[in-house]
């Protein structure tokens, strides 16, 4: 991580204005978005969008061709190029040929992408941004920090300072007045401009139309008043047919700003008359800039399904803490990381890809149905492939890949007593990579790991068997969770086996982009777990469950190791998380919890992988309810706790405040007990509460249920 990058994070998290504004916004956004989607089947809607955009991404050439033909037939001039430099030259030439001196622009990320404004200004042409947010950052000499709300990082006081300077009059920070000032200041620019430049939200191949959506009404003026209109459109905006615009018009405003529709939508097809009666000189530029390459990449093709709503930024726990500028100058947030890696270069994403904690919140709301965290992982993988792992990490993973050495070291760590302060390697083992970070105590490594304790557990013999996959945290830090699990399953007539050859699930390696290491872990585990004749493979760690259930397969796919995929699928089919299994046992009346208990208030924290990848959230709640707890939901119950494996150690400045927020929300419920299904979350949250000297108990659901079994 470069120092410059670390400093930018430091500045951002210590900018109270920024984090305060973004925090408030993201909280309100969630509520408003839900309201805007009321009565709409979001999954169905985004399924349609993903499908039509994916079709377009597979037919970019054909649709560009068709678009150009149809737009030209209507009198537009269409220029197609893959090169940003040629876009700039083309626009400058049109401007020069027509003696253009001033240009008004409506918001366009594509023009930001190619740094058009400075280029035109250097050629002596004045360029005025007219979207209020864009104008503000233009005056401030900054770059947008958010795709939809470019000036979201600025306060009204900062805006009033800028405007005061611009109109040479001292203004207060009264927002309606500031907006009026913008209206009055920009109006003459609209009326005098020789050229208007817009982007395009959608380009329809069937009709040669571009669709523009704005709230302020500036795009209507930009496309109506000046005699020349240039629309710069990235080819990912293409859709095949006119009817395709309906689902996008439905989702984009709802996802972007929680509106049912933007105030203005314009569908422009060919030139229309100018105010003086002449016909508009309409130029449409279809820009590729590596989008076709992206479409040809089996992993990244889905990124072209993006409709640029920025909801992935709005729900991201990292974005709301650091804002956009930490991500770079053009595209920001999760999708911005991906677009930067492509439209700029892979290397540019080296630092920012590390910002993603893989919580999956963005994937959950993306109307383009893009698996953003998965693509960020793929960037990580490719970076590691290109540049190799840092030396230290390499050393760590060579240990993790050697099960005996790895487990031996963990055992040694527990003997050393003060595990995290001694031993160079131990301190840097993936999950516990621990310099004791601020705001959180770390657990001691258990004196006797689960794998040893298991041998002493006396179980009745049953025909039905489940293999328990413990994962490093339960095995070496929280063996009591494993014991609880055995107790619960035995009660339901299931015998637990513990394949001793199981090892780390590979998630830490995978999340660092070390896919080869992760694949090695996957193979070891597949062998160990499929060797047993069992009905289920059960895990009480969602990260491990996701590894067994999805990631082994996708790791092999990424590496092209297809010979292991059938086995990985076989394992996936048997894999189940603890709460889902137990809930079904309770439903089948194979397991009963003590009746009529009044155990008081509890609150529940949804772990990212459990809720969003495994789609499990009701099962543990119902089980706890049935056990006799009275569930009080915390605010943002499914927001990440900031753990993210080694994330909390690599980026403590970000992880810390995320944890703080989580602890606050837990405390606010007044519950003396918080449950969760992930040992990683237990480690993070218990550590945080412990540091605060709080009396709130933190337990894994498995432990709470084991206490409540009927005799």
């Amino acid at each position: 991580m470069s120092n410059e990058f670390k400093e930018s994070i430091h500045r951002a998290v210590n900018n109270a204005n920024l984090t305060g504004a973004l925090g408030k916004f993201s909280e309100a956004y969630k509520v408003n978005r839900a309201k805007a989607y009321e009565g709409i089947d979001f999954e169905e809607l985004r399924g349609r969008i993903a499908e039509l955009k994916s079709y377009a991404a597979s037919h970019l050439d054909q649709l560009s061709e068709q678009f150009a033909r149809n737009a030209e037939a209507r009198g537009a001039k269409v220029f197609r190029t893959s090169d940003p430099a040629r876009v700039r030259e083309y626009i400058l030439k049109v401007a020069r040929d027509n003696g253009v001196r001033s240009i008004v622009k409506s918001k366009s990320m594509a023009t930001e992408e190619i740094h058009l404004n400075p280029y035109l200004e250097k050629a002596g042409i004045s360029v005025g941004e007219t979207d209020l947010g864009e104008w503000i950052i233009q005056l401030a000499g900054q770059t947008p920090s958010h795709m939809v709300m470019p000036a979201i990082h600025m306060t009204k006081e900062e805006v009033s300072d800028l405007f005061s300077k611009e109109i040479d009059e001292r203004l207060t920070s009264d927002i309606p007045r500031l907006v009026k000032v913008a209206r009055e200041r920009l109006r003459p620019m609209f009326l005098q401009a020789d050229m208007g430049i817009s982007g395009g939200n959608i380009a329809v191949a069937e009709t040669g139309s571009i669709v523009l959506m704005t709230n302020e009404g500036n795009a209507r003026l930009v496309t109506s008043l000046p005699k020349i209109h240039v629309a710069l459109v990235g080819i990912e905006k293409l859709v095949a047919s006119y009817a395709d615009i309906a689902p996008i018009l439905k989702a984009l405003p709802r996802s972007a700003t929680a509106q049912l529709l933007t105030s203005y939508v314009s569908i422009i097809t060919g030139p229309t008359p100018n105010p003086d009666g002449s016909l508009k000189d309409l130029h449409i530029i279809l820009m590729d800039n590596r989008r076709s390459e992206m479409a040809a990449d089996p992993k990244f093709k889905q990124a072209l399904q993006c409709i640029r709503c920025a909801s992935c930024l709005n729900v991201c726990p990292i974005f709301r803490l650091v804002g956009g500028h930490v991500f770079g100058k053009v595209y920001t947030g999760g999708i911005g990381t991906i677009l930067t890696a492509w439209f700029d270069e892979l290397k540019k994403s080296e630092d920012i890809q590390g910002l993603c904690i893989q919580c999956g919140a963005c994937k959950y709301v993306c109307p383009g149905k893009i698996d953003i965290p998965e693509l960020i992982m793929e960037i990580r993988r490719r970076l590691v492939k290109d540049q190799g792992l840092p030396l230290m990490q390499k050393a760590i993973y060579s240990v993790v890949n050697n099960r005996h050495l790895f487990h031996g070291m963990l055992r040694a760590a527990s003997l050393a007593g003060k595990p995290f302060t001694s031993g160079r390697f131990v301190r840097h083992l993936p999950l516990f990579l621990a310099d004791l970070t601020d705001g959180r105590s770390l657990p001691a490594i258990a004196g006797e790991p689960f794998r040893d304790r298991f041998k002493n557990i006396k179980q009745p013999k049953f025909k039905e068997k489940a293999a328990f996959y413990a994962g490093c945290l339960i095995d070496f830090a929280y063996p009591e969770m494993g014991e609880s699990l055995v107790k619960v399953l035995n009660k339901a007539g299931i015998e637990v086996v513990f394949p001793q050859d199981q090892t780390c699930c590979g998630a830490p390696a995978r999340y660092s982009g070390a896919y080869e290491v992760a694949a090695g872990n996957a193979i070891d585990n597949i062998k160990a777990l499929l060797d047993e004749d069992v009905q289920y493979v059960v895990s009480a760690c969602p990260t491990c469950t996701v590894a067994l259930d999805h990631e082994f397969i996708s790791t092999f796919e990424s590496l092209g190791q297809s010979e292991w995929i059938p086995k990985a699928r076989e394992l996936a089919a048997k894999t189940v998380d603890f709460s889902t299994l137990v809930k079904s046992l309770v439903d089948q009346r194979r397991l009963s919890l003590k009746d009529g208990q009044k155990l008081g208030k509890i609150t529940y924290h949804d772990s990212c992988h459990l809720k969003r990848t495994l789609k499990v959230s009701e099962q543990p709640r119902e089980l706890l309810n049935r056990a006799g707890y009275e569930l009080t939901e915390m605010f943002e119950c499914d927001m990440c706790c900031g753990m993210g494996g080694s994330y909390s150690i690599k980026l403590p400045e970000i992880s810390g405040p995320i944890l703080k927020r989580k602890l606050h929300n837990i405390r606010e419920t007044g519950a003396p007990l918080v449950a969760m299904d992930c040992p990683g979350c237990v480690m993070q949250i218990r550590g945080g509460l412990d540091q605060d000297g709080s009396a709130i108990r933190v337990q894994h659901t498995v432990e709470l249920l084991a206490e409540r079994l009927e005799d």
């Binding site: 927002i175 907006v179 709230n215 302020e216 203005y264 569908i267 422009i268 229309t272």
Partner: protein, 182 residues
Amino acid sequence: MYEQFKARAEGVSAEVHRFDTRAATLEFIITFLKGEGLHDVPQSHALWADCPFLGGSVRQSLSEVAGLKFDVSQKLAAQAKFGISQMQWALADTGTLVQDSSAIDQRLVSSLPAIHIALVPTSGILADMPTLLTRIHPGASAYIAMITGPSRTADIERVLTIGVHGPERLIIVFCDELGGGN
């Protein structure tokens, strides 16, 4: 569907009225204009773009209303306080008005003045966007314009503020007798 439209449009700060006859509609508009300070001076006049409503002898009958103009130009539109135009459709599920705006006059009167008065035949109310897309097609309409409430922004501290570059008030007037549109 009218009630749904009205609720949705008012939800985004539009003002919605409905009259059964042309005469009542016209009377409302004139009374509104006068009440809001219509005068024959720049920044106070009204500009009415050509539309079916003005057919027959209506336009003639309005010739003596001082400050009400019909010859649309960019200059007059930029100086007008009121812009009046007729929209073809209204979408009940989003409170949206839709018009074939290929003629520049239609856009000038609905984008530059501070107040836009939009006349709509009540029969032009459609259920939703997919229905609309089967009625209006880019093949015949070079500039399809949709308007949902007045111009707005939330670009300064995300505080919703009405009236940036477009109208700060949108007055929607349905006329049952106008028919047409579909």
